[in-house]
């Protein structure tokens, strides 16, 4: 595929659940190597939108075009493995298709959790679990990583470290990243573009544009602006990055 065709391009996206309109009139595109974050209040259709993009939700209108041969790595919101199901990390990464041992090791390494392959999935901490899910998404050598609130259940330093790792992955692997998050100030700093969603696209642009937009402030208030500014300042200063980065890097 040519470098300037968008990885995903969609127009006039409509999704209905029963009688309710979950999403309407959404135009969206994401380019190679871009990090795009979707923010929005609860019930604004963020997860539905991601699921529509991977084809898990039927559309009631509009169209979605994937670049030919697009490989998507999907990191779900949360995954509860029933405790009655015994499964090792290595076996989990071999579903649905078997993967050579060396690739499992390298994906776990890239995701920042080497040496976990023989552990039981049920015995992992929240942060380890999310990184195993990330490793699983990396196995397909994706052009686009899609993360649906991948840091739910992690504390703030934990999610900040996770998102910095995502940013690092983009730099190393060149894959685009599309993510949904609640933790606005943490995620926004790592984003090239932010889309504020509430059934439709309220506003979009650079993190600064969006956080200053009246539509965004109407939804989230102005309170997060200070935290955002503070965080971006720290981020560009690189003063504390080394502390939060996982030791594996």
């Amino acid at each position: 595929m040519s470098p300037d065709t968008p990885l995903i391009d969609c127009h006039g996206l409509d999704v209905r659940y029963g009688g309710t309109r979950a999403l309407h009139g959404i135009d969206f595109h994401i380019d190679r190597g871009e990090i795009v974050t979707i923010v929005g209040p609860n019930g604004s259709g963020k997860s539905t939108f991601l699921r529509a993009l991977i084809g898990a939700v039927p559309l009631s209108g509009g169209e979605i075009r994937h670049a030919p041969g697009l490989r998507i790595g999907y990191v779900p919101q949360r995954l509860q493995i029933d405790p009655t199901l015994p499964i090792t990390v290595a076996r989990f990464l071999c579903l649905p298709d078997a993967v050579p041992r060396a690739r499992i090791a390298s994906a776990l390494d890239t995701a920042g959790v080497p040496d976990l392959s023989h552990r039981q999935m049920a015995a992992l901490s929240g942060g380890q679990f999310q990184r195993v899910l990330l490793a699983r998404a990396l196995l397909s050598d994706p052009d686009l990583l899609i993360l649906d609130e991948a840091t739910q259940g992690l504390d703030q330093p934990g999610s900040a470290a996770f998102y910095r790792q995502i940013e690092g992955l983009r730099d190393d692997l060149g894959c685009a990243v599309l993510m949904v998050s609640h933790e606005l100030h943490v995620v926004m700093s790592a984003s090239d573009r932010v889309i504020c969603l509430n059934g439709h696209v309220c506003c979009e642009g650079t993190p600064e544009t969006v956080s200053a937009a009246p539509a965004y402030q109407a939804l989230f208030g102005t309170g997060t602006q200070g935290a955002l500014a503070l965080y971006r300042h720290e981020h560009h200063g690189h003063s504390h990055d080394d502390i939060d980065r996982p030791a594996a890097e």
Binding site: R51, P76, L79, P96
Partner: protein, 268 residues
């Protein structure tokens, strides 16, 4: 010592059902479908009544009704009534309607308990052949879809992202479940089929580290329970189907208490 032919048939029938039920039972446990298995089994009673009334083969009648029930529950779940309520309603209604319907079938004076609790000592060679044919089909189906079934069980969304359709895998499980229920009626009866699905899987859980390991151990435990149950019922002159379930329950208690004791031991 030579085995009486009826004992031989009982053992073969029991092992056939164990072979098909145990791996499927693992999915029933992992997906928390225990009650679903129960409902499908209870619906088979209605199938028995219909087969008698229409004089069609028992297997065909029970399979048809069990399948209808399983599909109906699959379809109706998530539409305003909680799934366990829905299952409770449908499962027990089907059982009650089945028993009442049998009373209406003219000219039939039958031993209800043979259907409720099984009559493994009365299986004929043709039943044994049908059970093994069915068990082989179910095992082949589960083995063929294993990876997709497992992925869909772990996470429907991950499955979807890998190009697997979770609804289709669910349908495959539902069909396999109905088939096992129809096969197992002769062996353990309508009321105890779910036990044969769930207990070996639950007993295997503490010993397993992988899903495949759990399915293999569950199959071995189910086979052992069948053999022990038949031997015990022969020795003590107890009803065979329930004795098999008792043996399985004993294995479950042993396995889980051993695991509890081991986990309390000092770390290695």
């Amino acid at each position: 010592m030579t085995l009486d032919p009826f004992l031989m048939r009982a053992i073969l029938a029991g092992l056939g059902v164990a072979l098909a039920a145990a791996p499927l039972g693992c999915f029933v446990v992992w997906r928390r479908m225990a009650y679903f298995g129960d409902a499908t089994a209870h619906a088979a009673m209605l199938g028995i009544a219909l087969s008698l009334a229409l004089s069609v083969p028992l297997l065909a009648g029970t399979l048809a009704v069990a399948l209808t029930m399983a599909l109906a529950v699959s379809r109706l779940s998530g539409r305003g009534i909680a799934v366990d309520t829905l299952l409770g309603v449908m499962s027990h209604s089907a059982l009650a309607f089945g028993i009442v319907a049998i009373a209406f079938v003219p000219g039939v004076r039958l031993d209800l308990s043979a259907y409720l609790f099984g009559d493994i000592l009365a299986v004929r060679w043709v039943d044994v052949a049908l059970i093994w044919l069915g068990a082989a089909s179910v095992s082949a189906l589960v083995a063929w879809r294993w990876s997709a079934l497992l992925t869909a069980t772990l996470s429907p969304e991950l499955a979807q992202a890998s190009g697997i359709r979770p609804e289709r895998e669910r349908l495959i499980l539902t069909v396999a479940l109905a088939l096992v229920v129809a096969l197992a009626i002769k062996v353990v009866g309508v009321l105890l089929i779910a036990a044969l699905l769930i207990i070996p899987a639950a007993a295997a859980r503490p010993m397993a580290r992988t899903p495949e390991g759990m399915a293999a151990i569950a199959t071995a435990l189910a086979a052992a329970s069948v053999l022990a149950g038949i031997a015990l019922s022969f020795a003590a002159d107890t009803p065979t189907g329930p004795t098999i379930v008792c043996a399985a329950a004993l294995v479950f208690v042993l396995s889980n208490s051993a695991a509890a004791l081991l986990s309390r031991a000092p770390p290695r």
